[in-house]
């Protein structure tokens, strides 16, 4: 056990799985970097944010492949390789670039198994960073996990801490279905204790990061940390919250959410993706359908507005869910009084 950053935890998961299984390969733009450069060095970058640094040195360029800027073909190649014997981990860099290769994910990899009558296995992982908070503007800041969650055949993972990232990525690599693994780009330097040895966190099992009586908060990725900060503040005001990190949006641990809502009777969902047809609407629908009688207040969603992500800091800050907004939503749900119908 030692302190590791989100970046290091991901790097370690990749390294350990590549050691364990020679069919695991990496590919992406500048996952090593430096090829064809005048300095003649390799591994110049190890990914734009250094997440895959050092893997080329250990595994060589038959297993760590720099690609041209050509997402449709290398993401498709990863899908094709996955269905024919390799276990590729393809890095898409910014998830926004899925616009250039969605067909290979949505119409190809996701559908092989079902379309081919259960005969295919596609052990593909696509890693990508997502999220606002970097002033990266409209084409480099989206949180597109609902898009992937919408597509049957894909699994979708959103780690909320370094510990979670390592265990979930190891599961993703060992999984026989296509997995979209989404890393919030603001979190790479966050640190916590992470075991040195490999461990796997199963998909579809939510993590209760905190248990309380009054309100259930469901949050994803970086929002889990914000929800816990809000819960700390609320605790001081006498409001006790449960905070659920579902870990994966597909599969989704409905049971844990429904059980917690049954206990608290109040639900706030924190989701940093665009508000229409996102995880917050999905979970709200499930709870409204399956747990209507246990609700003591309307479900509240803390989500961005239905706009692209703006560039300027003042606007981007307003755009994102915040600790203040989560606190306000919980306070509002506590203030709700059921009026008896006459």
């Amino acid at each position: 056990m030692s302190k590791k950053s989100f970046r290091q935890a991901i790097n370690e998961a990749l390294r350990q799985e590549m050691r364990r299984d020679p069919t695991v390969i990496l590919m992406g733009e500048d996952v090593a970097g430096g090829r064809g450069g005048s300095a003649g060095i390799k591994d110049a970058w190890g990914g734009v944010l250094g997440v895959t640094k050092g893997l080329l040195e250990e595994f060589g360029d038959t297993r760590v492949l720099d690609t041209p800027i050509t997402e449709a073909s290398y993401i498709g190649a990863a899908a094709g390789a996955a269905v024919t014997g390799l276990r590729p981990v393809a890095e898409l860099m910014f998830v926004d670039f899925v616009g250039c290769c969605l067909d290979q994910i949505m119409n190809q990899a996701a559908k092989f198994r079902y379309m081919f009558g259960g005969k295919a296995r596609t052990p593909l992982v696509i890693r990508a960073m997502f999220g606002a908070g970097f002033n990266a503007a409209a084409q480099h800041s989206q949180a597109l996990y609902p898009l992937f969650t919408h597509i049957p055949g894909l699994k979708v993972v959103i780690p909320s801490s370094p510990y979670e990232a390592k265990g979930l990525l190891i599961s993703a690599i060992r999984d026989d279905d296509p997995v979209i693994f989404l890393e919030n780009k603001v979190m790479y330097d966050e640190e916590e204790d992470v075991p040195d040895e490999p461990y796997a966190i199963p998909f579809g099992e939510a993590n209760l990061t905190r248990e309380g009586r009054d309100v259930t908060i469901v949050a994803f990725g970086r929002m889990v940390g914000l929800a816990n900060q809000a819960a700390d503040r609320l605790e001081k005001k006498g409001i006790s919250c449960t905070v659920i990190d579902p870990r994966t949006t597909s599969p989704l641990d409905r049971d844990t959410i429904l059980e917690c809502v049954a206990d608290t009777g109040r639900l706030v969902i924190v989701d940093e993706s665009s508000p229409r047809c996102n995880m917050a609407t999905d979970i709200a629908a499930i709870v409204a359908e399956e747990a209507f009688d246990t609700l003591r207040a309307p479900i509240r969603r803390v989500v961005p507005p239905h706009t692209p992500v703006p560039f300027a800091t003042v606007l981007e800050t307003l755009y994102l869910p915040s600790v203040d907004r989560i606190e306000a939503a919980v306070t509002a749900t506590m203030a709700h009084r059921v009026v008896e119908k006459v």
Partner: protein, 321 residues
């Protein structure tokens, strides 16, 4: 081809403006005051300016993530650009786009682009508008050697040929896409790619304004006359990292120094026009001084300009909703 003195002076000023704009950004970025990603165009000025000197406001260009030079060359105002990069409400995109999304449709600038390979398909559409509306306009896509490998780019070369569009595809080949060399990432040659799609190909030295102006002039005339698209391959060097903050360990120590010494488009331009007796050095020095003042004023103004208001967050998602 004889280039009018006025055009030369305007082009020199534009190249100097790009150079000073970018060098100032390099300094300001290091202070941490500029948000987001910034990709500098220094060293590549003659490409944007040599091409755009052959265009009018009626013509359209599409740019890339490395877009400041194309914007300035096409006539986007420096003050509005600087304010945009600082995220101010006075910016050309009202602080909503930033460096990577500067656009000004009024002067035919379809936007920088955060998506590599985003521009070429848009340029097919702009060329289709020019052709259909018979407005005499030409559409020009600037894109990098890295972007030349995107499917969207290759498909656009085909579409432009199939539709015989008034389009010019300017490959700005600076030898790198991020940290990866073009010698690794680009199979075959740009020339063979052009030939594969049945379009003429011209190449030129991008540090020589006159060479770019000449080559682009031919390519643009060809497209404007309705004879179909052309590929223009411009050989360049970028003087800074891929983005600000890139240590460039993948480049040989002397690569940038050599480019600065031997392939500085501004130095080469000055030598050529003064030796030919077209301009006195002092005339060009005056331009330099005026540009320095303009950049200084733009930075001071941008830092002082108002930030966007909270209501701006919700504005302009749609025309009507």
């Amino acid at each position: 081809m004889q280039i009018a003195r006025e055009t030369l002076l305007r082009s020199y000023r534009a190249m100097r403006t790009i150079r000073m704009f970018e060098e100032r950004l390099h300094v300001e970025f290091a202070t941490g005051e500029i948000p987001g990603f910034v990709h500098l165009y220094c060293g590549e000025e003659a490409s944007a300016v040599g091409v755009c000197a052959n265009l009018t406001d009626n013509d359209t260009i599409a740019s890339t993530h490395r877009g400041h030079g194309h914007c300035i060359a096409k006539g986007v105002g420096v003050a509005g650009m600087m304010a945009e990069i600082y995220g101010r409400s006075t910016g050309v995109c009202r602080g909503k786009g930033g460096s990577m999304h500067i656009a000004d449709l009024a002067c035919g600038m379809l936007g920088a682009n955060g998506i590599v390979g985003g521009g070429p398909p848009l340029i097919c559409g702009a060329a289709l508008s020019h052709k259909t509306l018979r407005d005499g306009g030409v559409a020009v896509a600037f894109y990098g050697d890295g972007a030349s490998n995107e499917g969207s780019t290759l498909e656009s070369l085909n579409l432009a040929s199939v539709w015989n569009l008034p389009a010019v595809f300017v490959v700005e080949d600076n030898g790198y896409g991020e940290a990866t060399g073009a010698s690794y990432a680009c199979a075959g040659t740009q020339q063979a790619r052009a030939a594969g799609f049945g379009m003429p190909y011209i190449e030129c030295d991008g540090s020589d304004y006159f060479a770019v102006h000449q080559a682009a002039g031919e390519a643009i005339a060809h497209a404007r006359e309705g004879r179909g698209p052309v590929m223009l391959h411009v050989h360049l060097a970028r003087w800074y990292g891929h983005f600000e903050g890139d240590a460039m360990t993948y480049r040989a120590a002397d690569e940038v120094a050599n480019a600065r010494r031997d392939h500085d488009c501004l130095k080469l331009f000055r030598t050529r026009v003064t030796e030919a007796g077209l301009f006195e050095g002092s005339e060009l020095d005056e331009v330099d001084a005026a540009v320095a003042d303009e950049i200084e004023a733009a930075v001071v103004q941008a830092k002082d300009d108002p930030l966007p208001q909270s209501a701006d967050l919700l504005a302009d998602v749609y025309v009507r909703y």
